[in-house]
């Protein structure tokens, strides 16, 4: 075996070690995401990611109607949407639970005051992002690059208590993306309900 062949063989072997063939695609921090379109549950119309993104970026939050962890953050999400709309970052909810139809998601968004775009996903976008639970956030900058992935807040002691829910993990990332600064903590662990795909 020549040295070149041996080197090539090592690289190929390493690829198999590092990338297990069964691993599901997942976006990572620093990666640019592929454009997608989903149906807005309020209008019933399909919208593309770039249509719902603010001038500085977007916070995509995988949400659920039935998950207590997701529901604990309803008010927090609505407050963030209002506050960061003025700073050029849109908050967008994505419901990827196959057990929760678009009509239920619409009613839930209206009754819980989720005053931001909520999209319905059949699981494809959740698969593309590697999202497995609710609530789980991906913050993208205006170039569609993932700058933060993880929890909305309370990541040290997750809570189902709305009175305790806060955006302490997500807020610094949104502030950084809004001003074009580096995100100091780009990943936190989001605890939550398994997305039913």
């Amino acid at each position: 075996m020549t040295r070149t062949t041996a080197a090539l063989f090592s690289v190929v072997a390493l690829c198999f070690i590092l990338i297990p063939p069964q691993a599901e695609a997942a976006v990572t921090v620093g990666e640019k995401v592929t454009e997608f379109s989903l149906v807005d549950v309020r209008t019933g119309k399909e919208v593309a990611l770039n249509q719902v993104t603010g001038t500085n970026g977007v916070a995509l939050i995988f949400v659920a109607t039935q998950c207590p962890y997701s529901n604990a953050f309803n008010q927090v999400m609505a407050d963030l949407a209002k506050e960061y709309r003025a700073k050029g970052i849109a908050v967008v909810g994505i419901n990827a639970n196959t057990t929760e139809p678009a009509e239920d998601v619409k009613q839930h968004a209206e009754s819980k005051g989720l005053d931001f775009t909520v999209l319905k996903d059949d699981g494809e976008v959740a698969g593309q992002f590697g999202a497995t639970r609710t609530p789980e956030v991906f913050v993208l900058d205006k170039e569609m690059v993932v700058r933060y992935h993880g929890a909305i807040g309370n990541s040290k002691i997750p809570t189902t208590n709305a009175a305790q829910a806060k955006a302490d993990d997500l807020r610094p990332a949104l502030d950084a993306v809004a001003t074009g600064s580096p995100v100091q903590v780009a990943e936190t662990k989001a605890f939550g309900c398994m997305i039913k795909r």
């Binding site: 497995t132 990541s155 040290k156 208590n161 662990k189 605890f191 309900c193 398994m194």
Partner: protein, 152 residues
């Protein structure tokens, strides 16, 4: 009446011990020599409730060689509800409720690659080494295979 309710709630919650960053020392290592199945569940979690009877069945069929450790991720104040659910399933396996101060430390002890969704099930071999991790609903057959392999 309110005082009695509070007292009952306090009694029920005190019956379910907490586990957190001390997970390995408290809930896994004491069972060295047996296969330990750690299941994270919550009373509000539908898929957790669906898989729970299978876990109990596996434990009962393999008593002596397999221990089931059920950790409720309910809020500590809901310990009574968790206790009630366990009683309905006639649980006689070690059961805890979450009591960690830092979820990162707790989840890393289970498996640093666990993304954070429940239900989640982790199997530790007889020496206490993690041999299997699963996020989402686990099936009876899936776990049975893992247990058979580790009990060889």
């Amino acid at each position: 009446m309110a005082v009695i309710t509070v007292l009952i709630a306090a009694l029920l919650s005190s019956a379910l011990p907490t586990v957190g960053e001390d997970l390995m020392e408290k809930a896994i290592r004491p069972h060295q020599g047996q296969v330990v199945v750690v299941n994270l569940w919550a009373t509000w979690c539908g898929p957790c409730r669906e898989e729970f009877p299978d876990l109990v069945r596996l434990y009962k069929e393999n008593k002596g060689s397999v221990v089931l450790v059920a950790i409720s991720m309910d809020e500590p104040e809901d310990a009574g509800k968790a206790q009630e659910y366990l009683a309905q399933h006639k649980s006689d396996f070690p059961a805890y409720i979450r009591g960690f101060k830092d979820f990162d430390v707790f989840s890393n002890a289970l498996d640093p690659n666990w993304k954070g969704a429940i239900p989640a099930t982790f199997v530790f071999d007889k020496s206490g080494k993690r041999a299997f991790s699963h996020e989402g609903k686990v099936t009876y057959d899936q776990l049975k295979k893992v247990i058979a392999r580790l009990n060889k």
